[in-house]
Symmetry: C2
Subunit: 233 residues, 2 copies
Amino acid sequence: MRAKARPSNGRKPTAQRQQASDALARARDRVLIISLPRLFLYHRALEDAVHGGLAVVTSRVLADRVGRGISSTQVRKDLSSLGNFGRRGQGYDATVLVNKLGRVLGLDRDWRIAIVGFGYLGHALATFLEFREAKFHIAAIFDQEPSLVGTHWRGVRIGHASELEKILPHLGCSIGVITVPAAAAQSVAERLVACGVTALLNFAPMTLKLPARVTVRSIDLASELSILTHYLA
Amino acid sequence: MRAKARPSNGRKPTAQRQQASDALARARDRVLIISLPRLFLYHRALEDAVHGGLAVVTSRVLADRVGRGISSTQVRKDLSSLGNFGRRGQGYDATVLVNKLGRVLGLDRDWRIAIVGFGYLGHALATFLEFREAKFHIAAIFDQEPSLVGTHWRGVRIGHASELEKILPHLGCSIGVITVPAAAAQSVAERLVACGVTALLNFAPMTLKLPARVTVRSIDLASELSILTHYLA
DNA sequence: GTATGTGAAGGTGTTCACAGCC
DNA sequence: GGCTGTGAACACCTTCACATAC
């Protein structure tokens, strides 16, 4: 005979931790799981629509504006997970939707960002945010390069990487951007977290090992290219 | 994101043709569907392992090296889809695996890249590839900025964006990188495709509409940040 | 008629459990 | 003992179909 529904005892610590962190993540999300990138696309498309004078948008119009093979059904499913503010037979009030999505995505308030590594990539990100994303403010910049340290970028003094602990804790940055070489990334990440940063955007081509409470997004240029080459090969 | 296999030109939409094209698409994928980013991570981790002197690697070791919550089962499933070259009881020959993964990812040969838009971001990518990814060569660079045009970057002359059609077709670039403002991206993409580029890495914050035969990967910095802010909010 | 919202069905990716082999 | 390889179970996400509301 076979015992059923046996409680899983004495699991491996890694598996257990994984499960616990999954459960936590689930509880925090509740509403949305892997649909976040889509919600962001809806938000952007709706901003454009509002800007272009559209007051009401249907799921079909929104799907077409987003492109990327997203269906109107998908749009409705995603939106309905946030509540019911469409009007049947009419569509969605664009402004209401933008606001709702903005709130869900955390785009209804401003954010302070610390950039570590101010080479071309750090520069690119800073410039991009500065003139395109009003909600994100570069509040701190660090680098190791002596010729950079002490200079200013749009009023922000570039500090030496070693000054991180001295400067950062006072600035209320919740987001850190890591654009340093792979060898330095793990250490920089840990130091940022120690200074109160709880979300990281990592461009270093490696996996960061950090406490589960820290949210990390990694952008791996080599990975993206090799996905392209796979399809070319 | 993987586009759905859709017959690109409606020459003969018979059931037979549909089935054939599906089978073809399946045959091309067969091995890998959404696991490509993981395969790349395995490849990188294995390169490190080989570099560090490991000759044999188990699925567990590989999983731990990759991190990111990937299980050893996941590793085995992914690898087994490429064939059976593990030795039961022992593990995988690291060198054999690296080579196999390299072949699957198209990293067993060199690639020529055209960059359009040579601001900070274009510069960052070029520099990154130049000194870290030997397989990728910057073969062409374009920009609109008069002060840039005519100058050289590592021996590559920076051409004016309007010269694209004149210069690019002779260079055999299969990959294009778009780091221009959103307003110019669609047009640039179409022109690159017209010049024979069939894979694009797009940094412009918008959706490109292109023929299905073109593979596109989009990196959207604002999207990544807003995913972070969602978890912070 | 038109478009939303949603349970149910269908697909796809991940995890489990164990057979097979060293 | 150890580790791979894999069908089956499971969980998740997407699509379908249609009830619901304007």
